[in-house]
Symmetry: C2
C-alpha cells in the first residue's frame, strides 16, 4: 500500500479546528499529525477537549509547550489582570482577546514540525466569518503566510485554511454532516467549568448552533 | 524630551546580530529591546555571550525559552545524535545545520513581543552573503516576511534585516568601525569551551576576520 502524504493540523479544541480534523479524517487523503499549543490560555480546558477528541479518533496527541507566547505579550486570554470582555465580536472591547500574532506563531512552529516530519502541508481552522476582530484571520494574511511558507525551506511548504471564508454556522453545518462530537469542544474564553454564555466566543457559538436548529451539547452557566 | 520609538532586535550572541545591536545603538534612533532565544542549541554559550554584550552596553537582557523549537524538528544544532559537520558552507553536509523554519519562528515571536511593547519594528541580523545554506536568509523570504508582518496586526509591523546583502567580512568591517567587542561573541556550532575552528560557521568567521586583516579575539582549539 502506498504511504499517504503527511499533514500537520493545528488543533485548538474549539469548534473550527475540531470540525476540520473530522473533515480531513473523512477525506482520508493525508496521514494526520495534529499539534495542540499550550500558550498559557485561561481556557486550558480546550486542550483537554482536543485530547479527548483525538482519543476518540485514535490519533496520538502532541501538546507543544508555548507558554512563552502568553509571557511575551498581554491579552485577556492569557493574563488574569485583564478580564475577558462580555458581548459580541463586533464590539471594540473584544480586541482585548487578541493574542498578538498568535496565528503566525502557531503556523511557524507547525511548519517547523512539518519540515521535521517531511509533511507537505499545514492545515488550520481559521475563519473570518462575518466579523473582523482578529487581523490574522483575514484572507490577505493567509495569502501572505502561504507565500512565506513557500520560501522558508528548500522544499515548498503549503498552508491551507479551508474554512477561511465560512462563518461558524456553516462550519457547524459541515460538522453535523460529519457527526462531530461537539460535546468534546471548548469555545468559552473564561476557562470555568461551564461555558459563560456571555463572552464573544460563546455568543457566536450559540448563534451558530441556533442557526442550524440544533442544541449545543455543552453546558452553560447562563445563556 | 520626546520618547524614542521602540524596536525589538533578535540577538543571538553571534557576530551579525551583535554588530547590528552596536550599529543601532550608535544610530540612537530607537529605544532597543533585544530578545535572545534559547531553543536548545548546543552552542548555548552564544546566549551567555549575548548577555555579556548587553551587560556591557547597559541594556537589560530578555531570554525567551523556546526549547520547543529544538524538540519539534531535528537539526545538528539541537540534537546530540546529529554531529555538527566540519567544512565550508558550500558543502551539502552543512544543510544538517538548518533548524527548520528558525527565522520565521524567531520573527513571529519577536513580533508578538513588539506588539505588546508597542514597538514599530523588528530587526534581525540575517545575511545571505556568498553562500545559500539557509533558505530563510534569502532576500525573497525576508520580503515575504515583511508583507506578512504588515498584515498580522491592525497596526503595520515592520521587519528589517539591514545586513541581508552583506557578507560576513563586510559586517565585521562595519563592526570594527563601531568598536564591537568581538571577544563577547560565539560563532562555533559545537558548543565546547573553545571554538572548534573547523565547522562551517568557524571557517566563515575566520575567513572574514582574515579579510579584514584583524586577529579574531576568541580562542580556538585549532585553526
Amino acid at each position: 500500500m502506498k504511504e499517504k502524504p503527511k499533514a500537520v493540523i493545528i488543533l485548538s479544541g474549539g469548534v473550527d479546528s475540531t470540525t476540520l480534523l473530522y473533515d480531513l479524517k473523512d477525506k482520508d487523503y493525508y496521514d494526520l499529525y495534529p499539534i495542540i499549543f499550550d500558550y498559557g490560555q485561561k481556557h486550558h480546558r480546550e486542550i483537554e477537549a482536543a485530547v479527548s477528541t483525538l482519543r476518540k479518533l485514535k490519533i496520538p496527541p502532541k501538546i507543544a509547550n508555548l507558554r512563552l507566547l502568553g509571557e511575551l505579550a498581554p491579552s485577556a486570554l492569557t493574563r488574569d489582570s485583564i478580564a475577558v470582555p462580555e458581548g459580541h465580536y463586533e464590539e471594540e472591547s473584544m480586541k482585548q482577546t487578541v493574542v498578538p500574532n498568535r496565528n503566525m506563531v502557531f503556523l511557524s512552529l507547525a511548519i517547523s514540525y512539518a519540515i521535521g516530519l517531511k509533511a507537505e502541508i499545514v492545515f488550520y481552522g481559521a475563519h473570518c466569518g462575518d466579523h473582523c476582530t482578529y487581523p490574522d484571520t483575514r484572507l490577505e494574511f493567509v495569502k501572505a503566510m502561504q507565500e512565506v511558507a513557500r520560501l522558508c525551506d528548500w522544499n515548498r511548504m503549503q498552508i491551507d485554511a479551508p474554512y477561511l471564508l465560512m462563518d461558524k454556522a456553516e462550519i457547524i453545518k459541515r460538522g453535523l454532516e460529519l457527526k462531530v462530537d461537539y460535546s468534546k469542544t471548548v469555545t468559552c474564553y473564561c476557562g470555568r467549568e461551564k461555558a459563560c454564555g456571555k463572552c464573544g466566543s460563546c455568543s457566536e457559538r450559540l448563534q451558530a448552533f441556533a442557526k442550524n436548529k440544533v442544541i449545543d451539547p455543552i453546558e452553560y452557566d447562563s445563556k
